[in-house]
């Protein structure tokens, strides 16, 4: 579990002219160094504008750094082209969004199968199993509009997990959820962590940030804190409301 899955070396992201034109540039990330081991559960926290989303976009192969390098599973992805990044993202990354982003005209199981379709081959049985893992097998034929926010987020997690990614990336995954559903989602993360899935979660919520194994805090594009929470990890079960569990 100690193999390095992700390494950021002197990563900076600068928007604008980078000092070469008249318009001012914005340094969203500044000289970031970060190593994530396989199986880690990392939370990234910080105020708005601190560079959390930029960092997750770069890790998720949806953006490239202006400077520095990003080594994902031994491959430097920082200079890859768009098509190559798409392939790497498809094969290695599972994405969870704050606003779920389910396709409104497809059922829960079909939303999961879309990720399969662009990865390899849609397999309904497998998609139903993924939904079962997040406790939604009986809601598989429902459209997103017929699901609660928590259920939609669980479909989003099932979709992120369906292709067995090496890293599960969550961008404020509990940001739109009430406390009860937040607990269910965190419980799912805990189980996935137990299964060895690498989880990186951007969050504003200190309680969600604190349940992770490790927490980094960003401010003005720099890591100002890198806290190993292994000592307290697993002790914050208050987030899981009594009588609610995502276990099938």
């Amino acid at each position: 579990m100690s193999d390095t899955i992700l390494e950021l070396k002197n990563v900076s992201k600068i928007y604008g002219s980078m000092g070469k034109g008249p318009s001012p540039s914005l340094r969203a990330l500044s000289d970031i160094n970060l190593t994530v081991n396989a199986g880690d559960w990392l939370s990234i926290m910080g105020p708005s504008g601190s560079g959390k989303t930029t960092m997750i976009n770069i890790i998720g192969c949806m953006d490239t750094p202006s400077e520095g390098s990003v080594i994902l599973d031994g491959v430097d992805i920082s200079r890859e082209g768009a098509a190559s990044l798409t392939r790497i993202r498809r094969d290695k990354i599972g994405l969870i969004f704050q606003q779920f982003h389910l396709i409104s005209y497809l059922t829960a199981v079909e939303n999961v199968m879309v990720a399969q379709y662009y990865h390899s081959m849609p397999d309904e049985e497998e998609a139903l199993e993924a939904l079962a893992k997040v406790g939604l097998k009986d809601r598989a034929r429902h459209l997103p509009a017929q699901l609660s926010g928590g259920e939609q987020q669980r479909v989003c997690i099932a979709r992120a997990l369906i292709n067995s990614p090496q890293i599960l990336l969550g961008d404020e995954p509990t940001g739109n959820l009430d406390e009860e559903n937040e607990g269910i989602v965190v419980d799912i993360f805990r189980r996935l962590h137990d299964e060895g899935v690498t989880i990186i979660v951007v969050t504003h919520d200190p309680e969600v940030g604190d349940v992770a194994q490790r927490k980094i805090v960003l401010e003005h594009g720099k890591i100002i804190q890198d806290i190993d929470q292994s000592a307290t990890f697993g002790q914050l079960s208050h987030l899981i409301p009594t009588g609610h569990t995502a276990h099938p």
């Binding site: 989303t53 949806m62 098509a83 982003h101 199968m113 379709y117 979709r159």
Partner: protein
């Protein structure tokens, strides 16, 4: 999964898809109608233009030479050069015989004309012709032809009646001559030439609008007898009305000298109804004859046909451009509306071409439905145009189907270009994080 997504999108976006289909229906129906009319209109326009008379004249080669060199249309060296009446019916036996609609031999001469009361009106031009000849071809077919079919506009201002084909005791007189000498329908005239005399009754006064207004028109048999020409069946010229194809470079080259053509060019030219090709074939059957197009009429036909075709092509192009622009707007609006969904697909690992394919297939399917409906609507439009303008149905050209298919494909493809470009540039980070 692909087709499931397509089907659900088509249902969910049915409003926009119906608008796209409607746009395609309009464009395709117009293109179909215009192309069917364009392909079927040639003969119809040609037939309409036949009201302007003959488009080919055949004269004796020496008389034609005098006309070409000295501008002489009568007198010594012209009036004494004759074609053979027996050759006239051979016109229907040439390769393009079916394109020969009507023809009439003409015999020009002069006679001393006096009224029934003995008043001499002068030495006036007289023309003999087939008025409405019923004849049997060597093939056994029968036909009715003659000057009456070539001078349809005489009917409008005709005072009295037309001559009968065998009415050797009657004549028709041109309006100018009639007004000059006070001749009316029913008057008797005496025609004399070199001691031969005929007394005839004026059956009709016609208005031609040209030189014929100063002539007296009789049957061919009567004028031949009056002129006392040696040998049987002499005629001065033959007027021919033929369906022709507008000239192109090949036809113009052939008109200069058919021998300058290569064998392939010659075959193409000979087997196309160019006026020069028909003239060439006429000369092959009329002894000593030189056939020449009446340029004014032939060129007018070609020009009108070309302009009609150009107008229809322009309408087709403009309707296609209009459809492409409308489709472009609708697809772009649809894609912008779905940018979050399409950005998500990119985030999930879809390549640009996969998303472009998704959108293109949706639009192509919608276009296909619109295209089929538009095609049948266009056939209806073509028939309406045919009935309204030409009073007949327009034959449906099968070749319009692939042409419309290709136009539809490219119009839809071109209309999709702005939306596809937007898709290519779409970054998942911008639509998924709301930045």
């Amino acid at each position: 999964m692909f087709w499931r997504m397509i089907a659900r999108t088509l249902v969910r976006q049915r409003g926009k898809m119906l608008m796209i289909a409607f746009t395609v229906i309009l464009g395709v129906s117009l293109s179909t109608a215009m192309m069917n009319v364009m392909l079927g209109v040639g003969d119809k326009v040609n037939r309409e233009l036949k009201v302007y008379g003959a488009n080919i004249t055949v004269r004796h080669k020496e008389a034609a030479l005098m006309g070409d060199l000295y501008g002489l249309n009568e007198g010594l060296g012209v009036n004494d050069k004759h074609l053979h009446e027996e050759d006239v019916l051979k016109l229907k036996t040439i390769f393009w015989g079916f394109n020969i609609l009507d023809f009439a031999p003409l015999l020009d001469g002069r006679a001393i004309v006096s009224t029934g009361r003995g008043k001499i009106l002068g030495d006036l031009p007289v023309t003999g012709t087939w008025v409405r000849k019923h004849a049997q071809l060597p093939t056994g077919e029968t036909l009715d032809t003659g000057l009456r079919a070539l001078r349809t506009w005489w009917d409008a201002g005709l005072e009295g009646e037309w001559l009968g084909e065998d009415d050797d005791s009657s004549v028709m007189v041109g309006r100018l001559l009639a007004d000059t000498h006070g001749i009316h329908a029913g008057d008797a005239l005496r025609l004399s030439r070199d001691g031969r005399e005929r007394t005839v009754v004026v059956k009709g006064i016609y208005t031609d609008g040209g030189n014929a207004d100063g002539r007296i028109l009789g049957t061919l048999g009567m004028v031949q007898a009056l002129m006392g020409l040696p040998g049987p069946g002499k005629v001065s010229s033959i007027e021919v009305s033929a369906l022709t194809t507008p000239d192109n470079d090949l036809a113009r080259k052939a008109a200069q000298d058919p021998r300058s053509l290569s064998p392939d060019e010659y075959e193409t030219w000979y087997c196309t109804a160019y006026v020069s090709a028909i003239c060439h074939q006429i000369q092959e059957v009329v002894r000593d004859g030189v056939a020449k197009p009446v340029r004014q009429v032939a060129e007018s036909e070609g020009a009108i046909l070309n302009k009609t075709t150009l107008l229809m092509i322009l309408i087709t192009i403009l309707s296609s451009i209009g459809s492409a622009l409308a489709i472009s707007n609708l697809i772009t609006a649809s894609v912008i509306e779905r940018s979050q969904e399409l950005g998500l697909l990119k985030a999930l690992g879809a390549y640009n071409w996969q998303i472009a394919l998704l959108v293109l297939v949706e639009v192509m399917l919608t276009g296909l439905v619109g295209g089929v409906l538009g095609y049948f609507l266009g056939i209806g439009f073509a028939q309406v145009i045919g009935q309204t303008v030409f009073g007949s149905t327009i034959e449906i050209a099968q070749m319009v189907i692939p042409i419309v298919g290709v136009i539809l494909f490219f119009v839809t493809l071109l209309g999709s270009v702005p939306a596809i470009r937007y898709l290519m540039a779409l970054k998942p980070t911008e639509v998924l994080h709301g930045k």
